[in-house]
Symmetry: D2
Subunit: 352 residues, 4 copies
């Protein structure tokens, strides 16, 4: 019953077999190999246009380098105050942008709203050098709270970014999970909704370490390879990242793994609610934040369930944990066994 | 007949099988897993003392982060002027050290001498703020020219570093190749000879992407994890690096692959010399820099040999390429087939 | 009637005459001159101990370099969310600290409380690399709202900083104004209350451009000259900063100018209140934030008064500007003429 | 007899009196004052076109910020290996460019040649990410050796920069001295010869601390104010820099002071040669590098002459100091008294 994180799993079978398949013979280094080219073409196909794709190997690198490519001196990067780039990346974005400031914006379910974004931007009026300058906007899809922006919501945020002439970045560490939920195309969820640069994450959904920075504006991508190399993120045997993506995309494997993870999360949420429980936020991807009695939590842990307490912030009173309650985080992945979900729900039922 | 680079090969069988072996079940992320612990212990054993080991995934990251941990404002980092950190890392060391200056030192065979190092340091007298301050010394073992520092040479460089109270870094991208050549222990070649921090490379010698920053001074390692994470170099599924090292070290695999690569290089060199040819530098690891007639080079290429021209600098007149000659770089690896070496030498013989 | 800012005035007579007085003959450059030594001694005397003093020429530089000297990779710098370093320095602190994150803390009158500081620090638990690490705490004395920390308040903040083993920085852009208000010694207001490093500002209080970074911990100052020079903040004709300080300190000039500025602010506040007006915050230094009818503001401006609207945040309902009201900022300085204050108050009275 | 440096003098009378003249009344801060505007217009007039001028207060800041505005990730900045930015700025250029690499080029008299520049650039072929990318070229006018580039020489360097599409920066710390020597217009010596951005120095030639970054390409200047502020180099009472420039330019004061300094240097050089002495380089500005017997040096010092030994590099054998000789640096300025020059030469004559 391991629901600790989607990065506790290893690599999905399709990824592992692709790695083995492509581990033969010689191949040029540093991303100049034919496999990288063919995987790049798959990205073009996926996004229904020519895109500029750069492989990296951590999500933090993908995010920070994306933002670096759009940095400005004294630049302000607008994001949710609980976003990964703000809270979980040890200032990598600040460092890679040579001192950018991440402006954290509040918002329910880790989603920023156009109103809150516009309000935050007023602190950076055009031309007032003391305050610095607007540089970019970043949203996470799916969010840290397991929620998903609708296409309309993304578009509305894009309007605000456009009004200040700054690009929109999407942290897609859980891109596939969100995509499956929305049921739209990858193009719909990105450039058609206004996304300029994307951190396309594959690690959490079944790779060892495969992330890609995807530019929809080819001009904006110019020179990006120097940012990547300057950060130490160009791999010599780069084909091993390409190979992971090759397996990831083969036969729709990546959508299947994401769908499974989402299904398991939904099943967990429904099971919890069926027992009278509640979740902190809507379950729209592969994360569930149940609010349980502490005694239940203890019994689940005793039964071997692996899940974490979560410092849930800004919940409405009707939802926030009561005195003897605790908010937990559960994450599902391609590796989550349905029997573990069943066992969890049974254990929970017995613990009520 | 591929002698293009040791990073054109994939992963060695021992590494690939370890990856598969450890790809089961859940394991904590970010290097807190048991496999990482056990591999860390292997590093202790290898170096015959407790060391602080940090996995990263590119050699550039290992080098730049090692230097960052020892950086100072206005810091001067002394290295060979043809070293990888100076020539091939796109300013990653300068960036990670927040503006360090790499001071390139001349020296035969890409090796710096104590005399040249001491001389270079005189431009940075203690306390003269304009010139900046000495920060560290970095040597490559084996070097970019395929040569190897003797233990005495390392020790002599250490004396100069000590005289200015700065640490000695070793870029061990080809650590195993050098170690096999010297036939000493890993401890002998590092901390016993005065190395303070090591980039322990395994990628070129059979991994996909496995490098480690090894501190021999545990105190100097304090806080290093923040440098790594700030650079985006902490992997979530970090066990995949650990797994590579596990395979790498198992049954002495890493020494066997390095020995094979070295043997192939030696065989190449001897075969070339037997035919009256010469090499730019002594062949002490897995790189050969033959100086051939351009017509030979063309015939070899026509026969399918993959090797590169090399802009050899500072060679004595008796060795430097003549008008119709060219200096080439050939790199062997665990994957080099002896039959390819034979074919190469035969082709060369026929081309004379 | 100019109350726009204390940096709209030029240099005070004592400063200007000192500049002229010391503008003769040759003197060593880069701060190695005898005048710098003698002014350094004045700092020792002022603080009743040996301090390490470094002259710079902007307050932003003083702050950012102070923080840089105490930076850590992934470092979090705790400050009030309306502080100058957070709002008005165009990411200079983030840049000089190589990507530090300024964590803005709420608090009345631009003062942080120990409770809020402690709470903010909980987001950075020791050893959790993702969140980064605590690096320093910074307070402004006097604050951006014209309030002044008591010695007890500073000490209480120091306790929180100590509990996490990080230093306490004081932004003393209006150091003299605060000191005059508290009526204590400079030692009392700094190191005796727990301040580790101080931006000692003199520009606003009568210099052209004279600021000093003062370290009370001499060990922490080691190497600071390299931070200063690396930032381009070491002046060749450095004696011109020393000369300003020489004039500033002569005959208690600096305390007299600060006292005058404070008196003018107090007189303004009292006059406003006498007419039934109110201020957003207590007037404890040389800034007044009156809340006036918009019609009053317009009449004052028409009469030639120079003052700015201020986006006052977080005021209690009883104080916050009503619908037809506006919060203004008025700053007094050594140059403020009492007749201007009188005229202002008369104009205000007539405008009611 | 003080020939130590041109920054050992204070401010010239015209500068000091302008400072006093403009020290009255209130004036907007941060460079938005009318005096700054009028001085800006003087720059337009001087350069015979609209330029974008930004005041800073140290030459190091002017240089580093100029280069920062043209930086690229992994960027290589080409300069003479003895240039101020390479040798005397404590990595400020590297820091402000977020890790730029200064590529030092050899050349007689501290001047780079088109040939050597082109050769150095070959190490950075277009599109090879490992080596980084060309970013800018920087020359000093006058140079560290007191020599001056001719207009033709500047133009020839510009051709090489153009061939790689990078801008040409001029470090004009001794701009006036060079201009007087060439006898051309400021426009001729800068943008007409291909200079894109200029560090216009006034400190050495009579100001306390007045430098300006001058962009001839207005588009390239966009956003530069954010670089300046991010570096802590925007002054609140910025008019004090403007005032210095106002005095500097009034009645051709700046050309007169430079001409005087140059004349004194020429007189020194001629006097030395008349006594059979020699100089290391041609004396084309306000620096003289005589090569004297060590015994002469000692007698001069005993007589009160202030001058420094200089580690002259790369001199031809016929000029380089012999065993009992020493190369010295002497710098003249607006403050150099002709009587001191006479005394020096007499003392020297007596010491032969």
């Amino acid at each position: 019953m391991n629901f600790a994180s989607d990065n506790w799993a290893g690599a999905a079978p399709a990824v592992m077999s692709a790695l083995a398949r492509h581990n033969t013979g010689y191949s040029p280094a540093y991303g100049t190999d034919p496999l990288t080219d063919s995987v790049g073409q798959k990205f073009n196909d996926l996004f229904e246009r020519e895109v500029a794709v750069y492989f990296v190997a951590t999500g933090t690198a993908a995010n920070a380098l994306s933002l670096a490519a759009h940095s400005r001196p004294g630049g302000a990067i607008f994001c949710h105050r609980e976003s990964h780039i703000q809270v979980d990346e040890c200032n990598c974005p600040e460092f890679m942008t040579s001192g950018g400031k991440l402006v954290g914006i509040p918002g329910d379910g880790a989603k920023i709203t156009p109103t809150a974004l516009r309000e935050a931007m007023t602190a950076f009026p055009h031309g007032v050098v003391h305050h610095g300058q607007v540089a970019s906007v970043s949203i996470s899809q799916a969010t840290e709270c397991g929620t998903v922006y609708t296409l309309e919501e993304i578009d509305a945020i894009k309007q605000v970014a456009d009004a200040r002439s700054v690009p929109l970045h999407m942290d897609g560490a859980r891109f596939a999970n969100a995509l499956v939920t929305l049921g739209c195309s990858a193009a719909d969820m990105t450039w058609k909704a206004g996304v300029d640069v994307l951190s396309f994450g594959a690690t959490k959904n079944g790779c060892w370490c495969a992330e890609a920075v995807v530019f929809f504006d080819l001009e904006a991508a110019r020179g990006f390879e120097y940012f990547r190399k300057r950060g130490g993120h160009l791999f010599s045997k780069s084909r091993f990242v390409a190979a992971q993506f090759d397996g990831y995309f083969s036969d729709g494997s990546w959508l299947a793994t994401a769908a499974h993870a989402n299904d398991m999360a939904t099943k967990l949420a429904e099971g919890i609610r069926a027992q009278g429980g509640r979740t902190a936020w809507a379950v729209e991807a592969n994360e569930v934040f149940p609010i349980l009695k502490r005694s239940q939590f203890e019994k689940l842990e005793a039964a071997g369930a692996k899940l974490y307490e979560w410092a849930a912030k800004d919940l409405p009173e009707t939802i926030a944990p009561g005195e003897d309650e605790v908010c937990l985080r559960m994450v599902t992945s391609f590796a989550t066994a349905e029997t573990d979900v069943d066992t969890f729900l049974e254990t929970l039922g017995a613990a009520v």
